[in-house]
């Protein structure tokens, strides 16, 4: 971790700006651009601050970066991006992508993404990542030149492998189950939390009506007037306090959301393993059948039914020369196949080893982060209660003076 980019460089996503431009189909569109600022962290001499480099990127470029990383490092659990569209909204939040609160939360999420990549022991060393942070022009072309899109596995292939693989590593199967559970439980939690937030908002806000009525009522009362009026003021304070409370809670929700999306990253690694394993199994199967074919040709026995065999039986046997040629071809193929199988095996084992290492790292990170998130949630609740106590103590005093 010592060599991590994060240690050497300060990275922030400091601003967001609305832009208009023309897209690929030459139609006008509005999008948001984010300012990435970087500054080298060196041992400061005489308190001198290094200069700040900055460039603008839009969300689609972040997406491109992440796709590149996922394809190039399939054994790494690549940090997720913040959501593309606002999900799990409760009524006060808007689902509009242009809404300033959403943009702000996305800015924070993007910064978080960059920091996570920069602190990853493997990912931070990637050149494309570095130029994403430092090179404004020509970055897109650079990424496309790597040809990573060709390396990407098709969804269909992956799905096929998932169904047909026979002997995946048990740990990966378990991990897949875990990530499914994690995803389902977190999205359920977020949904309920949104509903709870909505209701809580309602409770607080209706108390605000008290404020207005109390003040109107106090106008006609002599002895009760003052008490009512000041109590009304406290009700207004109470009703207003919910806005800050729920805003803080949104941050907590975002922390959970990150891990919701991480579940998908986990699954991606598992899928890669399944794909490799399936590939391996197919290669082994292919090799085995070729060996068998060879044997059959060599010994002249037909153990398995084949159309060729049938036709040759019906229309005459092939000449020994033809057979020799075939055997030779097969033997070459078998040689190739065995080498391929060996390297595939090696690849597979390496993948499992490095993937599992990263998964362990991820697990630790996850446990640490989630614990912290839960603690901060509890702290938030306590502070909410303390505020409530204060308001109602004041109100009680006012009421008792009525």
């Amino acid at each position: 971790m010592e060599d991590c980019l994060a240690r050497k460089m300060e990275i922030t996503v400091s601003e967001a700006e609305k832009r208009t431009g023309r897209n690929a189909m030459n139609m006008q569109e509005t999008y948001t651009a984010y300012l990435i600022e970087t500054r080298a962290v060196e041992s400061q001499s005489e308190g001198q601050c290094a200069p700040v480099d900055s460039l603008w990127r839009r969300y689609s470029e972040f997406e491109l970066l992440r796709n590149y990383l996922s394809v190039t490092y399939p054994h790494i659990v690549v940090p997720p991006l913040p959501e593309k569209r606002a999900d799990f909204v409760w009524h006060k939040l808007s689902a509009d992508n242009m809404d300033p609160d959403f943009v702000e939360r996305r800015r924070i999420g993007l910064e978080n993404f960059l920091l996570r990549v920069a602190s990853h022991p493997v990912l931070c060393q990637d050149k494309i990542f570095y130029s994403f942070l430092t090179q404004e022009g020509g970055w897109k072309e650079m990424v496309n030149e790597t040809g990573f899109q060709l390396k990407a596995d098709s969804r269909l292939k992956a799905l096929n492998a998932t169904f047909r693989v026979k002997n995946p590593d048990k740990r990966f199967t378990e991990l897949k189950h875990y990530s499914d559970e994690l995803q389902s439980v977190i999205s359920h939690l977020l949904r309920v939390r949104a509903r709870v937030a909505d209701r809580l908002y309602g409770v607080y806000k209706v108390h605000g009506n008290y404020g207005r009525v109390f003040s109107e009522w106090s106008a006609i009362e002599k002895e009760m007037g003052d008490g009512l009026q000041s109590a009304g003021h406290h009700m207004d304070v109470y009703a207003a306090s919910i806005d800050d409370i729920l805003e803080e809670e949104e941050h907590y929700a975002d922390q959970l959301k990150e891990y919701l999306f991480y579940a998908e990253a986990l699954r991606a690694v598992c899928r890669k393993h399944e794909l490799m394993q399936y590939d391996l199994e197919m290669a082994a199967q292919d090799l085995a059948s070729k060996k068998q074919q060879c044997e059959e040709l060599a010994t002249g026995t037909v153990r398995t039914f084949s159309l060729k065999g049938m036709t040759s039986k019906l229309f005459g046997q092939e000449t020994p020369e033809q057979r020799e040629a075939k055997i030779k071809v097969l033997e070459e193929q078998i040689q190739e196949g065995e080498e391929q199988l060996k390297s595939k095996n090696l690849e597979g084992r390496d993948f499992v080893k490095s993937a599992w290492a990263d998964i362990e790292r991820f697990k630790e990170q996850k446990n640490h982060d989630l614990k912290e998130a839960l603690i901060s949630y509890a702290v938030m609740q306590i502070s909410m209660c303390k505020k409530g106590i204060q308001v109602w103590t004041n109100a009680k005093e006012c009421f008792s003076k009525m």
Partner: protein
């Protein structure tokens, strides 16, 4: 003319000075030592061929001399309470008679004979009788005594006496007529003030009632969602190892919050909601009382006008007018005294109820 008769029985000498009468009705500052204790409980349903109804047990304990015994237990149904209320209103048109719970709640949430409805009604009836008992004048009303002590058949035979339907209808007609005539000309300033106050108060209290109900509803919705929130954390903890304990801890806390919310809701529904509702009804009653007072004054005024026109039968009229003036005076004073009393009570009630709400909320947050 029962009200005049009462006044005469209390002070035999004429003319009656207004100030002495105020003293008669004034609420004493020292807390009265109660000598009449009433409880309403034990609702029971009765099914007959014609109808189904509920009776409540009314238990009275007293040390007063005019009661033959020191303890009474009778059963009464809602109709009997209605009867008592109308008798009290007849006897004391300008005193503030406490409100009865409504006949039937149209809100649609509560069924006519649901346990919740019966319980709410029982509590309101209990309050009704106790408020009468606490009232310096009403507590000595004869019909009240009969209500508390008579057996079922005694009560029904007593009910059949008294001014018939026709005379009561006559009263209502006169009341409507006088209200149609518009604001009374010679209404003393004090009562105009009262009227204005009541109008605003009635408005505000109705709004408060609605707000309180809305808060209750929001809290209930909140509670329902919270119920689901805790178990999710427990479910999650099943998939985790390291953070399982933390998750279970959070689940436990959320469940505690749920319970605290329940308590808060109960506090609202037992305390604030019934009182606000009672004062909503009170505001209607008070408007009625003010109208009746206006009506009585209207009678006086019209007689005075008539006198101005018929100079001959002056003497006869003057006596009648004199009586009416006294009547108005009494009514006014009764109302004023009662009004002050009511306001004090209301203040006290509001104070305690809102303080209670505040305390409940404190408890909620502390938990």
């Amino acid at each position: 003319d029962t009200s005049l008769a009462e006044v005469n029985s209390l002070s035999p000498s004429m003319p009656i000075s207004p100030s002495s009468m105020i003293n008669q009705y004034k609420f004493e500052d020292e807390p009265e030592i109660r000598d009449l204790f009433i409880t309403v409980d034990d609702p029971e349903s009765h099914i007959t061929a014609i109808e189904t109804f509920i009776t409540y047990r009314v238990v009275t304990k007293t040390s007063r001399g005019e009661f033959d015994s020191s303890e009474y237990e009778v059963r009464r149904r809602y109709q009997d309470f209605l009867w008592l209320k109308s008798k009290l209103e007849e006897a004391h048109p300008t005193l503030i008679i406490p409100p009865l719970p409504e006949k039937f709640i149209m809100k649609g949430m509560v069924e006519r004979f649901s346990d919740e409805f019966i319980e709410t009604r029982r509590k309101a009836l209990h309050k009704f009788l106790n408020r009468i008992a606490d009232h310096p004048t009403l507590t000595f009303n004869e019909d009240f005594k009969i209500f508390l002590t008579a057996q079922a058949w005694e009560l029904s035979s007593h009910k059949k006496q008294g001014p018939g339907l026709l005379s009561r209808m006559g009263q209502t007609v006169r009341a409507v007529a006088s209200s149609v005539r518009g604001a009374v000309k010679n209404r003393p300033e004090m009562f105009t003030e009262m009227n204005d106050y009541m109008e605003t108060f009635s408005q505000k209290i109705n709004v408060l009632d609605k707000i309180a109900h809305r808060i209750y509803k929001e809290e209930r919705d909140y509670f329902n969602e919270m119920k689901e929130y805790g178990p999710i954390h427990t479910l999650w903890s099943a998939s985790e190892e390291d953070i399982a304990e933390s998750l279970k801890g959070v689940a436990g806390c959320i469940d505690k919050c749920c319970k605290a919310t329940e308590k808060r809701m109960a506090g609202l529904s037992e305390n604030l909601l019934p009182i606000l509702h009672e004062y909503v009804l009170y505001s209607e009653i008070l408007m009625g009382v003010l109208k009746r007072r206006d009506q009585i004054q209207g009678e006086l005024d019209s007689k005075v006008d008539a006198l101005a026109n018929k100079k001959t039968e002056k003497d006869l009229f003057s006596e009648e007018i004199g009586k009416l003036e006294d009547k108005v005076e009494c009514a006014n004073n009764a109302l004023k005294a009662d009004w002050d009393r009511w306001k004090q009570n209301m203040q006290c009630d509001m104070r305690s109820t809102f303080t209670n709400v505040a305390e409940n909320n404190l408890r909620y947050y502390e938990e």
